[in-house]
């Protein structure tokens, strides 16, 4: 089993590499979606615990993966990624989506202020609540952020499909990545558009996050609207061919 995967992995990457290199050499063909790294490069793993396991604890699969990793080329770690325990991939992604014009500094400070605002509000509520309620109040801003985004994720989406000269909105299952992206996108868009004048982004975003955490608010409503539309159009589901 392991042996087969050796040659399969090696062959796939090399085949892809060979094909890609051949395409690059041909003068008439230029690839649009290309990267400075070749196709044989693998993404880096900045997780500290990944390499620390002593050899005795590794399973066969992990040992094999480790050995295979030794033969592969690895990309450089991006500038926003560290092995720190405070680095959260979801937060980084949201920060990037909030960024305008490449000012990562501003986006990151806004995100930090948002999380601080969330924490402050929750602590106020905590101190004002009675003993039984205190156990139910979540104070960690990261768990609130993750849970809020998870609550906003739609399960099914709509895709315009051209049939007979008309575009029909066809219900389609969404992948995990697409769902997470839509949740973040809706959240940020809503906070930008539907806020009263002179409200700052952290304030509005923290308010929306807390509402989404409690399964209320405009973003959750938008998710439900999407689900209702999909349910209404379920007769068109057979237009999908994939």
């Amino acid at each position: 089993m392991a042996a087969r995967t050796v040659w399969a992995a090696g062959r796939c990457s090399e085949q892809a590499g060979a094909v890609n290199r051949a395409v690059r050499r041909l003068p008439g063909l230029t690839q649009v979606r290309w990267s400075r790294y070749g196709p044989e490069f693998r993404d880096p793993l900045t997780d500290k615990g990944h390499c620390r396991k002593p050899a005795a604890e590794l399973t066969e699969e992990e040992k094999y993966d480790q050995d295979l990793g030794k033969t592969q080329l690895i990309k450089a770690a991006p500038a926003a990624q560290t092995c720190s325990a405070f680095a959260d991939p979801v937060i980084s992604k949201s920060t990037n989506m909030m960024m305008k014009g490449g000012s990562k500094v501003l986006a990151r400070s806004l995100m930090a202020q948002t999380l601080e605002a969330v924490e402050r509000k929750q602590f106020e509520k905590y101190h004002a609540a009675s003993a039984e309620e205190q156990a139910t109040i979540e104070r960690n801003p990261y768990t609130i952020f993750h849970q809020a985004l998870k609550n906003c994720e739609p399960v099914i989406g709509l895709v315009p499909i051209l049939k007979g000269g008309h575009f029909y909105q066809v219900p389609v299952p969404l992948s995990d990545r697409r769902r997470r992206f839509l949740a973040m996108k809706w959240m940020i868009k809503d906070c930008r558009e539907n806020k009263p004048r002179r409200t700052l982004m952290p304030e509005k975003l923290s308010y929306e996050l807390l509402e989404a955490f409690a399964n209320k608010g405009p973003v959750i409503k938008r998710k439900h609207d999407m689900h209702k539309m999909a349910e209404a159009n379920r007769a068109l589901a057979h237009y999908r061919w994939w």
Binding site: V6, G10, S35, T46, K70, A77, R108
Partner: protein, 390 residues
């Protein structure tokens, strides 16, 4: 003395042609062609040159295919190459016995400097096996009767290879116990099966993906049985080695200053920033960049996190002192350049396993991404001008 020089020049001139696949027809003036003789003695059923030029003949190309080179011709080229190699070594003042291909390349680049951009258009001198395309030996005799018993399958090399491999498999199965217990896998990471292109090159035949997969499946089945040295040699013909990437990492040697403290220097680059870092063995975690403390030089948290990244990954946060110089680029590029320089310099103080961990974390790879150029007819690198209907 004149005669060897002449032969060497001729030998060299034969060898020094363009690296592109040479059309046999164009070289007609230089090479001597053997005529195709219809009435030869029946015992001379060995390879004969079927010399075709594109210009003179459009007749049907026989089973031996396109323009072919005889074995004698190739042998002669190899001899001339070896003689030429020795003469070249003598010319460069090196020992002819230990003159490797890299030395040949260097000598040719020195003697025939070329400013051509296309590397394959420059003068080269390589072994004839690498220059002349591998081609099939002539497969039929004079009477039209093919030599190989599998000729009429159309792919005799592939099917004969499969036949041999399966024969070996059956033989081993006969001698072994019916349920073999293979305790360890005989596939260490250092080698891989050859890929479809390599197998095609070896057999000089086109293969389909299924054929290739069938063959590899057979070989893997062979691996599960117990085999002797003959089968081992057979299998090794189809294995290629894979480079262990961590061994390619260059580790800087340690230097010592006046107080006896060990330090290590290294450089790093990112976009247009160039950095050089000196990491001391013992210290308290202070980092000075261009004479300024890193807290003042990098007011942004993200940059300081990047500086801390290599040390944090190895749990050596407060243990080393660093003095670095950096120039060019922007703030993030400078931080990335210093990070790379520090990671490379740290390699001298840590074990090989830790070097491999750092490599897996992406700390030792130089980031090749640079700003993409603006193209003519577009507003930016990717952005096009606004489309106007009229």
């Amino acid at each position: 003395m004149a005669a060897p020089c002449v032969s060497c020049c001729r030998g060299l001139s034969y060898r020094l042609f363009l690296g592109l696949r040479v059309n046999f027809a164009q070289r007609q003036g230089y090479w001597q062609t053997l005529p195709v003789d219809a009435q030869t003695a029946p015992e001379s059923q060995i390879l004969r040159l079927i010399h075709t030029t594109v210009v003179t003949t459009k007749k049907n190309v026989s089973a031996s295919g396109r323009d072919s080179y005889t074995e004698d011709f190739i042998k002669k080229q190899i001899e001339e190459f070896n003689i030429g190699k020795r003469h070249l070594a003598n010319m460069m003042g090196e020992d002819p016995e230990t003159f490797t291909q890299e030395d040949i390349d260097r000598a040719i680049a020195y003697l025939f400097p070329s400013g051509l951009f296309e590397k394959r258009a420059r003068p080269i001198m390589k072994h004839p096996e690498q220059i002349f395309p591998k081609q099939r030996a002539i497969q039929r005799g004079e009477d039209g009767r093919p030599f190989h018993f599998l000729f009429y399958t159309g792919r005799q090399s592939y099917y004969s290879l499969m036949h041999d491999t399966y024969g070996k498999l059956l033989q081993l199965e006969k001698h072994n116990d019916p349920f073999p217990q293979k305790t360890e896998s005989m596939n260490p990471i250092g080698s891989r099966w050859l890929i479809k292109e390599e197998l095609e090159e070896m057999l000089v035949e086109k293969l389909s993906d299924q054929d290739y997969m069938q063959f590899i499946w057979l070989l893997e089945k062979l691996l599960t049985l117990q085999y002797g040295p003959a089968e081992e040699e057979f299998i090794q013909r189809f294995r290629r080695s894979v480079t262990i990437q961590s061994q390619k990492q260059l580790i800087e040697p340690l230097q010592y200053d006046e107080q006896g403290m060990a330090f290590s220097t290294s450089e790093g680059r990112r976009k247009s920033a160039r950095a050089e870092a000196v990491v001391y063995e013992r210290g308290s975690g202070k980092i000075r960049v261009n004479g300024i403390d890193y807290l003042q030089y990098f007011p942004i948290t993200q940059d300081r996190e990047q500086l801390m990244f290599p040390f944090h990954y190895l749990d050596r946060l407060g243990k080393h002192d660093v003095i670095c110089t950096v120039s060019g680029g922007g703030r993030s590029a400078q931080a990335g350049a210093i990070r790379l320089a520090m990671a490379k310099a740290l390699c001298s103080f840590i074990t090989e396993d830790e070097v491999e961990w750092m490599r897996q974390a992406g700390l030792l790879t130089s980031d090749p991404r640079v700003r993409e150029r603006k193209k003519p007819g577009q507003e930016g690198a990717r952005r096009k001008f606004t489309w106007k209907k009229r």
